[in-house]
Symmetry: C2
Subunit: 735 residues, 2 copies
């Protein structure tokens, strides 16, 4: 084993060490006045109460699934015996990352508000470094999990050849992704429902009915609303990207093990280590980028954005350069070409982020047009927002399409005429996987810019509720507005990486199918009259054996079901938000009615009750869609077999990707169209136009924060479930 | 040639004769008072003005495309020489069907209003029989075109074997479908934009700003609104289904020619004639069904619906029985099994229609829930309507999925273990095609129930504007409400049949690819090291040759683009409606301002100007999305080749199908949620709930009448373009 490998755990530990340093630094700051402390404590308590409840439910689901896997592995022998353990650790680490992120974010908001009393730069520093805790924890725990599992399996797995051993190790590691996926799904869906139920509930009764401003302490749902920002945007987003991060590295490692199988152990090992090492240097260079983020006092949105972008862009450029170096040192075959595939992923991520910003920021025409359509009322705001979201899918789809083709072509050295030979196909798919790793290599810093958003948002809430100097609120508002932009680009990034990761997982699925066949005792398969050893079977062989082509009715039906799953899942989560918000509306109305003196400020509302309602609502509502996402690929596998599952995954991926962009961008545009009016355009606050854009914003809330982002995980989770269940599908499918 | 074939032209002529009889009967009725005549004349003039303008634009597009095809066929020899002619006749007949339908519908509305002065039954009879003119014209012209082309090509085509001749004839005939598709796209998109621009414009200024009721003669846009109903729902829907009808018969014939190629000319010919004969008996039994539709006086919605359903169901049952008979007489191989495939299609159509009714009628819970969400304002109406639409995709998708599988399995006599052998695959795909024919075999009567809707709607408008007795308006309202339900089921039916037809077209595409290869002078292809004659190549051979499997990056990129195309197309048409409506709003405001005395009834508004604005807006806005739909498959073919095109078609089909159902059902539910409130629930007319549901209805208008239904055609048109361009793709693709 090359010593370069040890860079992976070292980088992971480095990330955790820096996360700890940033955490200590933040904790040393003062939380401010007693009121500020008290409010922060309320939010922290609420967030932890939510997490506790969430982990309870998730633990039960994990135990049931782990037992099920154990039965499959030890009872029916249709699964690797490591699966139950890998599944549990994946879930555990993902949950831990969410927990640490939440703990940090909820400790940081009052401190950010307090630091903003001194200067904008001080506020930015506290908020951003606290966000970085989340970013570094996710990548650190991810790579740590990967390297420890690699070392453990390297010790325990025994196979006839080292090459075969590497295949078994990498495909086994993949299954810990399912644990991360499952955790992520619950975090995203539960958090998404929680945050929007609280938000919509707080707005509809507080702002609209009682006429009190946002974040007013008299609103019983205001703490729940602030908790929601953390639950959805910190824990949810973190778990989502933890999963993409691990998934892309693991899938690419598995693809590398198979693509370079026949080239000897040394070559193969380098291909397996390459994605891990790119991720490792990504961590180190992200830390450098984080240190460069600072701004001048009196900085406006533009300068702030510039300083954040500078950090991210610096990291990206450094990673691009360092990729060539590390792959050269690794002596990876065609290192120059593979490095270009990595850069394709990096660039695609940036383009998708930019396009999201263009379509959702009110500095540009599309969102301004949505704002202008408010002149003819809420209906035209909705129509134009939906039109914008649908049209905005074009650039990201074309970008991902080009990224797929170019990552593939670079990896095969532009050998277009032999593009689809078995060898080139494996190599090209490895190129697509490593492009996903490239896109995610900056995760340490990009996630920091993302997790920073809700911290700034909460800091503003804290400043408002503690009645600090309006100057402070202005500063936190600048930080918050910036957070909205970074959140939008972060979402585009999350979707893009999910698509590439899912494609890499799709290819890995075939490796699991091979292992499933071998487990079943089948050593040869019959492809077009030739007998082919299962272990030696190439991707085209397997495609032909299972006829995974577009005229196979099982593939076609799978694709229809996959496309439908995206819509059904979105519809279910949209309705879940509606129901949970309704309960919140009732509770807030009840408190205004029954607790005398809330509105005059003489009585404290029962914040905890609202937190509890959001928590219960989210837990209750998240179960059905989540279980559906787990069951759909299993059922499809049992009824329609391998070809049906692949149809399901590809159908779900293509539709889900486009649907997710549409929903995220429509939602973002409505949000900012409202802000555009609030800034004094088209009549400003309180005008008919403003009311019309508020309708758009409320519709957009579940679009952009619940249903849209949950689709990323749906796509990946369905792939992961299929991978884990490959053995079952091979053994028991009906058709 | 079996004499049974002549049943096809005979049935076609029969349909046209009955259409003419119904037309004459309708024309004999009185148009009522001079005011009624005048209003009807306004609408008729407006509709004809629109059609004239539309045909002008379309003619230019047709000439350009026909010249392009002529260059490809005669200059580059990458296309069949019959294509330009087939293309033109397809477009001509489709346009003719639309013209006759419009002419009838606009003549029938005043007569329906007048007949409704006597009794409800009299009104129903005039409206429904006039709708039947459209239904019978579409199926009659469709089958006539098919049988004439068959006879002409049978005379002119010369090939080495009769089997090969049959393949060439059937694949050549397919290309006339592209003419029908192109015509249909313009009719649907143009008509959809027209009708909604007029509707939204009339509502926003007339109803909301000026406070005058629907269909009030003081509203300058009211005539344009009535014209729009005809333009969108009669001409648009007719062209759409003409295309599905011809497409399914022609694609199935082509599949039959290839599936039974090796079984000798006699067997093959029977397989080609089978879909035509099923369509032919469908016509005869639809006519019988039409004659059974009548109702008692004082009938409510339920009885009316029952009497319409009786007609449709009777036709369906008779067709199911007769299918066994006709396929037995034809001596089709496995006639019992193939008949079952036909019935699968019939049943699937009914289930999809029922599910549409369940989700969009306010007699059921889903739409009632949307109405109830109006208590918390327009935002929750939109959220719950979108949630409903997305969830409502599950049943139709599962139904189509089961239909695909069972139509396939019946056709191969449930030989599940050998499901995917070359022979069974061809047979099974033939089964899917013939299921589409089965679904559409009742078109004569189902389209009658559809086209009847706008006639009843216009009759109501005429009664209102002519100030007839309120009792008459009540009767036309009952007829109109029924029309809304049949329109919803009709839409479900149109989408379902489009999906099955597109699948059949997908399989036919491969036949065109084979012909393209032969044209190019390539007589053998290399499949897994074996040399296979192109003419003998089976579907699995071609799948392998082009690697049209789910791991081919070209397929994957094609699928992403296909999924994106559906969303982009919807977004463009949504925005087009917004822009066209804005112009209408300005014009109506201008007339109110500049023409004194409109609102007091002392001056007549300038109806013609509004008609002109809608017409110009629609013509202007329909071009870009339509051309995009034509260019996308051509570009994909040139860049990514056959596998990319198949990815595009399947990606577009799966996403587009689900998206179309979502949009149609959300729109339908919003419409009926508003009606539910207007019936006195939740505060009734004028309440806050009513206002909230009006927002939903306005958003739903372009959903259900423009973007959603246009997707059906997008799906089919992209397939047709690919088929016609197959030769070009084979000859010139880059990858």
């Amino acid at each position: 084993m090359t010593t370069l490998f040890y860079l992976v755990p070292v980088a992971a530990i480095l990330a955790l060490v820096f996360a700890y340093i940033f955490y200590r630094q933040m904790k040393k700051e003062s939380e401010g006045t007693p009121t500020m402390k008290e409010i922060a404590a309320h939010v922290r308590k609420g967030a932890m109460a939510y997490l506790k409840q969430q982990y309870k439910v998730v633990t039960i689901v994990f135990i049931i699934l782990a037992l099920f896997f154990a039965v499959l592995a030890y009872g029916f022998h249709v699964q690797n015996t490591w699966v139950p353990f890998a599944f549990l650790t994946g879930g555990f680490f993902s949950g831990l990352a969410g927990f640490i992120g939440m703990r940090t974010a909820t400790s940081a908001s009052a401190r950010t508000a307090n630091a903003a009393q001194n200067s904008l730069n001080a506020g930015l520093k506290v908020a951003f470094r606290s966000g970085a805790v989340m970013g570094l924890t996710v990548v650190g725990l991810g790579l740590l999990d990967i390297s420890v599992w690699y070392l453990v399996l390297n010790f325990f797995v025994h196979e006839t050849t080292p090459e075969q051993k590497m295949v078994v190790i990498t495909t086994t590691m993949l299954t810990f992704g399912m644990g991360a996926s499952t955790q992520a799904l619950f975090a995203r869906v539960g958090g998404g429902i929680y945050t929007k139920a609280a938000d919509v509930g707080a707005d509809l009764v507080g702002k609209v009915e009682a006429g009190i401003p946002e974040d007013d302490p008299r609103n019983p749902a205001t703490i729940a609303d602030n908790v929601g920002d953390n639950v959805g945007d910190v824990a949810g987003m973190g778990a989502d990207l933890y999963e993409s991060y691990c998934g892309s590295v693991l899938a690419t490692a598995a693809l590398g093990a198979s693509a370079f199988y026949s080239r000897g152990y040394g070559v193969q090992m380098n291909a397996v280590f390459a994605p891990m090492l790119i991720a490792a240097i990504g961590i180190i260079l992200s830390i450098i980028g984080i240190y460069t983020v600072r701004t001048k006092e009196n900085a406006g949105m533009k300068q702030l954005l510039k300083s954040l972008s500078f950090g991210v862009n610096l990291s990206s450029v450094l990673i691009a350069v360092a990729t060539f170096g590390i792959l050269y040192l690794l002596k990876l075959e065609n290192w120059q070409w593979i490095s270009c595939s990595v850069i394709v992923g990096l660039v695609a991520g940036i383009i998708i982020g930019q396009s999201t910003e263009y379509y959702t920021s009110h500095s540009y025409k599309p969102t301004q047009k949505v704002a202008h359509s408010s002149k003819t009322g809420p209906a035209t705001v909705i129509i134009s927002g939906i039109g914008l979201g649908m049209i905005s899918t074009a650039i990201p789809v074309i970008t991902i399409g080009l990224a797929i083709i170019f990552a593939f072509l670079f990896a095969i050295r532009f050998d277009v005429t032999n593009m689809l030979t078995a060898q080139n196909l494996s190599l090209g798919l490895y190129g697509i996987g490593i492009a996903a790793v490239g896109m995610l290599s900056t995760l340490g810093i990009t996630l920091a810019t993302d997790a920073y958003g809700p911290i700034a948002d909460n800091a503003g809430g804290n400043a408002e509720m503690s009645k600090l100097d309006p100057e402070v609120r202005k500063r936190t508002d600048v930080l918050d507005a910036l957070g909205n932009t970074t959140a939008a680009t972060g979402k585009g990034f999350a979707i893009g990486s999910a698509a590439l990761t899912a494609l890499a997982l799709l290819a890995s699925y075939l490796e699991e199918i091979k292992i499933g066949l071998v487990h079943l005792g089948q050593t040869v398969i019959d492809v077009a009259g030739r007998q082919i050893e299962v272990v030696q079977a190439t991707i085209p062989d397997l495609m032909e054996y299972y006829q995974v082509n577009l005229m196979n009715p099982k593939v076609l039906v799978g694709m229809f079901i996959g496309a439908m799953m995206s819509f059904l899942f979105c519809g279910l989560t949209m309705n879940a938000v509606g129901r949970a918000a309704e309960k919140m509306v009732e509770e807030v109305r009840r408190q205004f009615r029954e607790i005398k003196g809330i509105l005059t400020g003489n009585a404290t509302p029962d914040y905890a009750r609202c937190v509890e309602i959001s928590t219960k609502g989210a837990q209750h509502e998240m179960l059905f869609p989540s279980i559906l996402a787990i069951i759909a690929p299993i059922l499809t596998g049992i009824i329609f077999g391998v070809s049906g599952v692949m149809g399901l995954l590809v159908g779900g991926l293509s539709s889900g990707f486009v649907l997710a962009i549409f929903m995220a961008n429509s939602g973002g545009a409505w949000d900012n169209a409202k802000k555009y009016v609030e800034e004094g355009n088209l009549g400003g606050k309180g005008s008919e136009s403003h009311k019309a854009t508020i309708v758009g914003d409320t519709v957009g809330d579940p679009f952009k924060d619940t249903s849209g982002p949950s689709l990323n995980i749906l796509i990946k989770l369905m792939s992961m479930v299929s991978i884990v269940m490959a053995g079952l599908t091979v053994a028991f499918s009906l058709m």
